[in-house]
């Protein structure tokens, strides 16, 4: 409440204003960038890569090998951190690409937004030869990275399938057979037994939505039903019967006292895993590695399976998210950047190495030929964890349309979920209000 506060806010205004200006100038100068884009040598130049924590470390580890083959490409991998990387990309793209790295690691939740709001922000990889990898990746992912006019904005890296990690020892203690759970309704019944016998919650949710991804579980249920916040036309489907059903499952669990509160987001989740406050972690592929890191001493107590279906006979495979590497439209070394991306993402040996070190599941289907995906895991009680998720990747999964308004959708969804979990609100009512609010903000239609 003083000068400093004002300065901070003004700075924000200035940033926003500057971003808008350069947005305009970027448009008028787009011809130039396009022409300069294809320039740059394929095997020479200095490139910078932006990523976060684990993936950044893995790319760094690949650089020496890469340089044996391409000694004249100098690669600098920077760990920007997640979620900081999204703001950083936004501002840099808003500034017409000044200060932007050459290679960008982008999640499926942000990719459509960047593509739509900054049409020249990302280079067309099709021009660099990406089309030849059209069928190399898990199903549904090519639709995600290629858009209107056949432009290829990125290449898929990791493909995460919905998972169901659980404490086998707790299930056993409660006398519940985890493999027999056909639907989430079964899981709720099992959860009641587990709570009664062992005092452990079924699962955890960040009830006050301290972080943007607090609605992960809700989203997972939707995806298991084959729907999402938007349909393929970009219309809002937030108060569809499927969505109401998903939110009702969450409410039923919560009302039965089966949901532990992960208020605080990621740190709370870590604490919860360490303390063993929940028997189930309904997290995707990549979370297996996190559990192994957090509680190495619980080796053999854990198991994993695909999640139960929402309706009896429904699917239990869903590709819940993916991440990608893209080349900045402003990069002067697009060809060299593409060479690096190609090396990391389309060469099975690179992906196998990354999987071995970090457990990042490749979207590249050929990588799964390696035996590492078919070896039993001691931590997961001798299960072939890699194969379980490989099966899920091969199952048909629709491409979910994240649209450029995913962040707004996420906001209204987490608000709705908080109302249900903390205030006992009615799922149908809050979802209807959320859909209406989203429609007003985005100008999109609501369909059921």
């Amino acid at each position: 409440m003083d000068m400093e506060r004002r300065r901070v806010l003004r700075m924000g205004g200035a940033l926003a204003a500057g971003a808008g200006l350069t947005g305009l100038t970027a448009c008028s100068g787009s011809g130039d960038t396009g022409a300069a884009g294809s320039a740059g040598a394929k095997d020479k130049g200095a490139i910078t890569v932006w990523s976060w924590q684990g993936p950044a470390a893995q790319m760094k580890a690949l650089v020496p090998e890469f340089n044996k083959k391409f000694p004249d490409i100098e690669v600098t991998v920077q760990d920007i951190g997640n979620p900081a990387i999204w703001d950083k990309i936004t501002t840099a793209m808003g500034a017409g690409g000044s200060g932007l790295a050459d290679v960008l690691h982008i999640g499926v939740d942000y990719l459509p937004g960047y593509v739509e709001k900054f049409p020249n922000g990302l280079a067309d990889l099709g021009e660099l030869g990406a089309d030849r990898y059209k069928d190399a990746f898990a199903r549904g992912l090519w639709e995600t990275v290629s858009g209107k006019g056949g432009k290829v904005s990125a290449l898929p890296w990791e493909a995460n399938s919905a998972g169901f990690y659980y404490r086998a020892d707790i299930f056993e203690e409660a006398g519940v057979d985890a493999d027999a759970l056909g639907t989430w309704d079964d899981a709720i019944e099992a959860g009641k037994k587990i709570k009664e016998k062992t005092g452990t919650h079924l699962l955890g949710i960040d009830k006050p939505a301290s972080e943007a991804d607090a609605a992960n579980f809700f989203q997972l249920l939707l995806q298991l039903e084959g729907t999402f916040y938007f349909n393929s036309d970009g219309d809002i489907t937030l108060d569809s019967p499927e969505a109401v059903r998903a939110m009702t499952i969450i409410k039923t669990m919560n009302d039965a006292g089966l949901v532990s509160d992960l208020a605080g987001g990621w740190t709370a989740l870590e604490t919860s895993v360490k303390k063993g406050t929940a028997a189930v972690l309904p997290w995707p592929t990549w979370f297996g590695g996190v559990i192994e890191d957090l509680v190495p001493e619980e080796s053999g107590k854990w198991k994993v399976r695909l999640p139960p279906a929402v309706r009896r006979g429904g699917t239990n495979a869903a590709t819940v998210n993916s991440t990608h590497l893209a080349v900045a439209g402003s990069s002067k070394n697009q060809a060299a950047a593409w060479t690096f991306i190609e090396y990391v993402l389309t060469r099975p040996a690179s992906q196998v190495k990354i999987y071995k070190n970090q457990g990042i599941a490749p979207a590249l289907m050929k990588a799964y030929d390696d035996e590492v995906f078919h070896a039993p895991s001691t931590f997961f009680s001798g299960q072939k964890k890699g194969e379980i998720f490989y099966e899920a990747l091969r199952a048909p999964s629709p491409a979910f349309n994240y649209t450029s308004d995913y962040a707004r959708a996420l906001k209204v969804v987490t608000d709705a979920q908080t109302k249900v979990l903390l205030k006992g609100a009615d799922p149908a009512t809050v979802l209807k209000a959320a859909a209406g609010q989203l429609a007003k903000q985005t100008g999109r239609k609501v369909v059921r």
Binding site: D2, S210, Q437
Partner: protein, 309 residues
């Protein structure tokens, strides 16, 4: 001004030839402008230009990467946006509840720090002012650690006396209180120092006269201290109002505006629109609405507090 300067020059030393006499005249006329030029140029580049440009921006909407002129659409959208009103309401609550409390506290603190009975006054002054120079992000993080429900220090202390864990940041009402707590900790000392500076200009004779007239501590506070503090109170009120309306860092770091928008402020909402939703036009409209609001409140406060002797 120019006329006077010219005359002075005409009256200058007669020995100086006319031509050389002109130069210092010109130089003197130019010099002040040259001196203010860097400041003006910087101000224009980094303040005026963005301010003007964000107004232009607020009249545009970005569709498929192209800025389209939409007139006052962004402003009419504001009126119909429940989240904007929520943000406004939250900000108003802080303004009405937290600011008066904090200023009362600051006044009390200033009087205490001014008291000759207090030993080590400068240590205390420094101590209370310290939060002000703490980095906003650092202090936000410290508070989020202190107030964490599961493993925060505060709940640990409370559990020591048998009180259940308080959901400091995760319950809508508690989150508001925590925010007020953090704000008070951060800004009370700063306001106290401004008030203290003014307090020291109140002549001691006034207090002597009051005590001769039989005034007690309370009466002399009411009739001497408070009227003496009026200009400083006006200043701190206006500054705090402006600051509160623009409040951003604390809710952004502590709660992200949650839970369920209970601590969403205009600043946070503006940020979300610009940097999470890429909606720069709408964000600029929010900024302008905010600026107008601040202007109106400022004028009102000057009228109410400023006019009287």
């Amino acid at each position: 001004m120019t006329a006077t300067l010219t005359e002075v020059d005409k009256d200058g030393p007669p020995t100086a030839p006319a031509r050389t006499a002109r130069r210092p005249w010109q130089g003197r006329r130019l010099a002040p402008y040259l001196f203010v030029l860097p400041a003006i140029a910087l101000f224009a580049t980094f303040k005026l230009y963005p301010i003007a440009w964000s107004f232009v921006l607020s009249l545009h909407k970005t569709v498929d990467g192209v800025d389209t002129y939409v007139g006052a659409d962004n402003y009419t959208r504001l009126l119909d946006d429940p989240l904007f009103w929520t943000a406004l309401k939250n900000t108003a609550v802080i303004l009405v509840v937290q600011v008066p409390l904090m200023l009362a506290l600051a006044t009390g603190l200033a009087v205490a720090l001014n008291s000759t009975l207090l030993r080590g006054r400068s240590v205390f002054r420094l101590g209370f002012f310290m939060p002000m120079v703490t980095g906003l992000v650092a202090y936000g993080l410290i508070f989020s650690v202190l107030l964490n429900k599961e493993y925060g220090l505060l709940n640990w202390l409370l559990s020591g006396i048998g009180v259940d864990a308080v959901p400091w940041l995760t319950d809508p009402l508690w989150a508001k209180l925590s925010l007020g707590l953090a704000l008070t900790w951060h800004y009370t000392g700063y306001n106290a120092v401004i008030l203290l500076a003014r307090l020291q200009t109140i002549p001691g004779e006034l207090y002597d006269a009051a005590s001769v007239d039989g005034a007690g501590a309370w009466a002399s506070f009411r009739h001497v201290t408070l009227p003496g503090l009026r200009p400083a109170l006006l200043l701190t009120t206006v500054l705090s109002t402006i600051g509160t309306l623009q409040i951003f860092d604390e809710p952004y770091i502590l709660t992200g505006g949650g839970p369920d928008n209970a601590t969403l402020t205009i600043g946070v909402y503006l940020y979300q629109n610009a940097f999470t939703y890429f909606d720069f036009g709408y964000a600029s409209a929010i900024a302008y609405a905010l600026a107008v609001l601040i202007g109106i409140l400022g004028v009102i406060q000057f009228r109410v507090l400023g006019d009287k002797p």
